[in-house]
Structure formats: structure tokens, C-alpha cells
């Protein structure tokens, strides 16, 4: 069975300084339910259903996206620390100027024709996915009186079962905007916040390397259900 999450390590539904949460998070208490096979199984054929997209958002040569070249080594593990091979990982982020490839982004920062912005990968045997990209920029959130999002990369991850699904954001170490970001700071526990910040790994490569560990719900010993 899945263990309940420690609420300190997760966000509350309504977050001060993030107005949309008060329109969208339920007012009624969430209902606790018994877990059956339906919740404790999950999509087994996602790589067949979802087309994989390049794990390289930066391009090369004249087609190189503007910005600092980075590699993100993200490892998907379960609550036992066991790798989750075959985990599907989606990532998306804005370009170095802070502009997303999305019609709803009203920020007047310039688009980058050489930047793509979205990748979908499958974790290997060690649970690892490697993303080659450029470091995303910071950007102001409209109509908030000065809230700037720190550089971050969005992650959408599938673990072993339906309830292991995780959507989160990865942050970069040493960014002053991390201290005031309403989304990162919605996690009440300081250790939980620090686990959402990637680790810089010194290397002699021509790109900067960051490591990030993603822990999805579930234990390796979870019994198989019919």
C-alpha cells in the first residue's frame, strides 16, 4: 500500500501571493478513500502511447539556442531509493530571456527561434534521464505587483502506478529569486524545498552539469495487483 504523505513536505492548496489558488483549490475537505487495484495500478504502455521527443533543447552550431548550455541529469527513484526504469519524464521551460513557446505567454521577452522548449524521455535502467538544454531565464508574473519566477524547469513524471504521478518544478542553486518565490516557498519544510533545487556538479565539460533527484510515491516492494 501507499503511505500517506507528510503534509509539511507538500504545499497547502491555497498559497498567499498566488491568487489563482483561491479560485481553484477545493473548499470542501479532500475525501480519504480506500485504495484498490484501480488506484494502485497504472499506465503500462505510455512509451507506446506518447511519442518521445528529443532530450536536446539547445541545438548545435548556428542553430544553438541563446543562453548558458547545461545538462540536467535527473534520476527517478521510489521511496526506497530504488530506480524506476521505464519512467516517462516530460520537461518544459522558457528560453534564456524568460519566454515560453506558448500562445498564452504574454511576457514581451523575445522568442528564440533555435530554442524548442519541450522534451519527453524514458528513464534508463538506473532511472536516469539526461536533458541537454540552456539555462532558463527568470520572468515577471503578470498582474502580481512584482512577483518574478526564478529560473526553473517543469517536470511531469510517471512512477509505477496511477498514484505515483508527480508534477513539479526544478530550481537552480544560488538564485536570489528562490527566496521569495510563492511556488517554491509553498512547501513549508525547508528540507523539502532544498530537495527541489538541483545540485551543481563541477565538471570539465563545455556545459554546466546539474543533478536532480525525483522521488515518486511507492515502495519497491509494492505487491503486484490484478
Amino acid at each position: 500500500m501507499l503511505e500517506r504523505r507528510d503534509p509539511k513536505t507538500q504545499s497547502e492548496g491555497i498559497v498567499a501571493g498566488y491568487a489563482q489558488t483561491a479560485q481553484r483549490w477545493p473548499a470542501e475537505p479532500l475525501v480519504r478513500r480506500p485504495l484498490t487495484a484501480s488506484e494502485l495500478t497504472g499506465p503500462h504502455d505510455l512509451p507506446k502511447k506518447l511519442r518521445m521527443l528529443r532530450g536536446d533543447l539547445a541545438g548545435k552550431g548556428e542553430k544553438r539556442a541563446a543562453g548558458q548550455l547545461i545538462q540536467v541529469r535527473a534520476r527517478v527513484v521510489d521511496e526506497d531509493g530504488a530506480p524506476v526504469p521505464g519512467a516517462v519524464v516530460e520537461v518544459w521551460h522558457c528560453n534564456a530571456a524568460g519566454k515560453y513557446i506558448h500562445p498564452n505567454d504574454s511576457n514581451d521577452a523575445p522568442p528564440d527561434p533555435n530554442f524548442y522548449g519541450a522534451a519527453r524521455m524514458v528513464a534508463g535502467d538506473s532511472g536516469l534521464v539526461e536533458l541537454r538544454t540552456i539555462k532558463p531565464g527568470a520572468y515577471p508574473v503578470p498582474d502580481t505587483g512584482g512577483w518574478w519566477r526564478p529560473p526553473h524547469i517543469h517536470f511531469s513524471v510517471w512512477g509505477r502506478v496511477w498514484l505515483s504521478r508527480l508534477v513539479t518544478q526544478m530550481f537552480f542553486p544560488g538564485e536570489p529569486l528562490n527566496e521569495s518565490d510563492a511556488i517554491l516557498n509553498a512547501l513549508r519544510d525547508a528540507d523539502a524545498r532544498s530537495r527541489c533545487i538541483a545540485r551543481f556538479v563541477p565538471s570539465k565539460t563545455n556545459y554546466l552539469v546539474y543533478e536532480y533527484q525525483i522521488v515518486v510515491r511507492g515502495r519497491a516492494a509494492t505487491p503486484k495487483l490484478a
Binding site: 497547502e12 489558488t21 479532500l30 480519504r32 480506500p34 507506446k48 498564452n104 498514484l163 490484478a226
Partner: protein, 160 residues
């Protein structure tokens, strides 16, 4: 070693459109659709809805049937899936699991759509007066399941 699951954070407003495209077709028997609204009644654009359901026999491990799908709402707040009607899994009545991801939702919202009001361990966990909100309305082969995130006739959501 016991690790703590990574904290969830909002999907944000810029989920790539291509990620949601084309993944809402599971079968050709029924359509499951509905409108998603927030507290002030406004219909929500680009909400990501994911479903997980059993096959016709109520099984979750059928290699020939993918029980997973994803759709995004349009500018009128409407999502649509084409699928088959699931069978009743052991100990349950027929149902489809729903997962809602959106800007302004710091955590995923989990709910379940049912085809009828009947005894079921998950439906029975919901306060009795709210259970009918989880039953889809049938119009021919279309099952309509509206989701109100907050406010009047708010959809019951689960905490797992």
C-alpha cells in the same frame, strides 16, 4: 532507506499544447466529456485531464487496451475523451479515475467518475449528499462529467 516523495508544484499556465494533443482516444464506444469551472464560474482553458480506467472486463493489465488518456480543455472549458465503457473491477463498480493538473493547483486533484449511484468502497467514502456529483449524466453514448474545482456543487476530490 526511506526517501520522502518530491513536493508537488503547479503545472503552470504554459504546459506545451503538443503534450496533450492526440492522447484522448482510447476507443470508439462512448464519449466522456465535461466542462471545468472555478469558484467564480469561469470556464478554464488548457486544464490537463488524465484518465485511467479498466478494460471491458474490469481488468487493468490488458496488453491490448491502453486504459490511460490525456486531454486539455478548450477555451470553453470543455475536455473530451473517446473510450470504451469499462467493466466493473473486482470489488468495485465501473468507474474512470480522473487526475486534474492546472495553473493555480499546487497539487494534483484526484477524483473518480461513476456511471451509476451504487455500492462501491470509494464512492461510499464520499459524504452521501455529495455522491451524485460523481455520477456522469448520460446523453446517448455521451457521458457528461462536469468538474467544479471550488464553489457551488463542488466536485468531491480525494486525498490519497
Amino acid at each position: 532507506m526511506k526517501l520522502i516523495p518530491t513536493g508537488e508544484m503547479t503545472l503552470g499556465p504554459f504546459f506545451p499544447r503538443e503534450f496533450a494533443a492526440g492522447a484522448n482516444h482510447l476507443g470508439d464506444e462512448i464519449e466522456v466529456m465535461g466542462k471545468i469551472t472555478q469558484l467564480d464560474g469561469r470556464a478554464l482553458d488548457n486544464v490537463v485531464v488524465e484518465i485511467w480506467q479498466a478494460d471491458r472486463d474490469g481488468r487493468f493489465d490488458n496488453p491490448k487496451f491502453s486504459g490511460w488518456g490525456r486531454a486539455a480543455t478548450d477555451a470553453k472549458g470543455i475536455y473530451r475523451f473517446k473510450t470504451i465503457k469499462p467493466g466493473a473491477p473486482k470489488g468495485r463498480i465501473a468507474h474512470i479515475n480522473f487526475l486534474i493538473l492546472y495553473s493555480g493547483l499546487m497539487r494534483q486533484l484526484q477524483t473518480t467518475m461513476f456511471f451509476e449511484l451504487a455500492a462501491d468502497p470509494v464512492l461510499d467514502a464520499v459524504p452521501e449528499k455529495r455522491r451524485a456529483l460523481l455520477v456522469a449524466r448520460r446523453e446517448g453514448t455521451v457521458y457528461r462529467f462536469d468538474l467544479r474545482l471550488r464553489g457551488e456543487r463542488e466536485t468531491p476530490f480525494f486525498d490519497d
